[in-house]
């Protein structure tokens, strides 16, 4: 029986994408080998079984394996990375930002929303909304050790921009009470994004400078 090599190749590429579920260090060390092993398994089953249909079972096993082992590797990676205190120091700014946004800025904004000038209103609104998204993304990337440091800050900026952009587009296109989105709101969102980006970048670079050679290398 002719091996459906194209199906195997596709499966391998898809599996290689799923390896993003593992910590970066683990992926770098073993990702290529894991994809090779997965492709070998697919090829063997496709030859022995019913072509593409046989791949379904391989995929089932692979997904179960991934679901069981990726969290464990993240946990180990978290421990190897210096444990709770190191991670807490890294995400301290994001946690502080969350506390500040929710406990100070949001109540202040809610209490004075009708009395504030439009510019301040828009800026506070943007600071809260982009802050919640930006810091959530940054926390997620850092705690899972998917990305760290400057890369995590850049990725948080990119993802938050995408999310905020999508929301603005939805509101503008979809109509509703805020359909007449003003330039002021958009500018406020952009400024807020830059604010969160700059603050986080400063924090990360400051921590990198004070960490010393071994931690910086890690």
């Amino acid at each position: 029986m002719k091996t459906p090599e194209r199906d195997v190749s596709r499966s391998r590429r898809a599996y290689a994408l799923l390896l993003a579920a593992y910590p970066r260090e683990f992926r770098r060390a073993y990702g290529r080998e894991m994809a090779l092993v997965f492709a070998d398994r697919c090829r063997e089953r496709a030859r022995a079984g019913r072509g593409a249909a046989a791949l379904v079972r391989v995929w089932g096993e692979a997904l179960l394996d991934l679901a069981l082992t990726a969290p464990r590797e993240h946990l180990e990676s978290f421990r190897e990375g210096g444990g709770v205190m190191r991670t807490l120091r890294t995400v301290a700014l994001a946690l502080l930002a969350y506390a500040f946004t929710l406990l100070v800025v949001a109540p202040l904004y809610a209490r004075n929303v009708g009395n504030l000038p439009a510019v301040v209103n828009s800026l506070l609104d943007a600071l809260i909304s982009t802050g919640l998204i930006f810091n959530f993304v940054f926390l997620l990337l850092t705690l899972t050790r998917w990305l760290e440091g400057v890369r995590a800050v850049r990725a948080a900026l990119a993802l938050t921009t995408l999310i905020v952009g999508a929301l603005i587009t939805l509101i503008t296109v979809g109509g509703g009470p805020h359909a007449g989105l003003s330039l002021l709101i958009v500018v406020a969102q952009v400024l807020s994004l830059l604010f969160w980006f700059t603050v986080h970048l400063w924090w990360v670079l400051r921590r990198r400078g004070s960490a010393g050679p071994p931690a910086a290398a890690a």
């Binding site: 683990f26 073993y30 080998e33 090779l36 398994r41 692979a62 179960l64 082992t69 990726a70 590797e73």
Partner: protein, 117 residues
């Protein structure tokens, strides 16, 4: 870790013990290990890529296995694949685990849970 007492690592997880057994008689690459385990257990144990390489990672850290530069399987040789082999410490740990399991089997026999084959 390689200089420590093998008993400290016991009991081994089933996956780790299977990998050690697979490497006991030959150096193998990842898929070779999976195939050997599958063949030896009649297909009852199928190590997934995540389970296998997670185990290998920890075994490398503990000094149970090491990467091999040689390519023992010339026919299936692939430059991209890494081969692994047991270290002396890994062999001692595998032997200690086998002894431990053997002791348990003897207990099971004594309590007539197993027939004397």
């Amino acid at each position: 870790m390689a200089g420590s007492d093998p008993e400290e690592l016991l009991p081994l997880s089933p996956a780790v013990f299977h990998v050690l057994l697979a490497l006991a008689d030959a150096e193998r690459h990842g898929y070779g290990i999976i195939k050997e385990v599958e063949a030896r257990t009649g297909g009852r144990v199928r190590l997934g890529p995540g389970t296998l390489y997670g185990s290998i990672k920890r075994m490398l850290e503990q000094g149970l296995v090491e990467e091999s530069d040689e390519r023992p399987d010339a026919e299936l040789d692939d430059e991209r694949r890494r081969y692994y082999r047991l270290t002396d410490f890994g062999r001692r740990v595998a032997a200690a685990e086998a002894e431990r399991l053997s002791g348990l089997v003897q207990v099971a026999r004594a309590k007539q849970l197993l027939s004397r084959a």
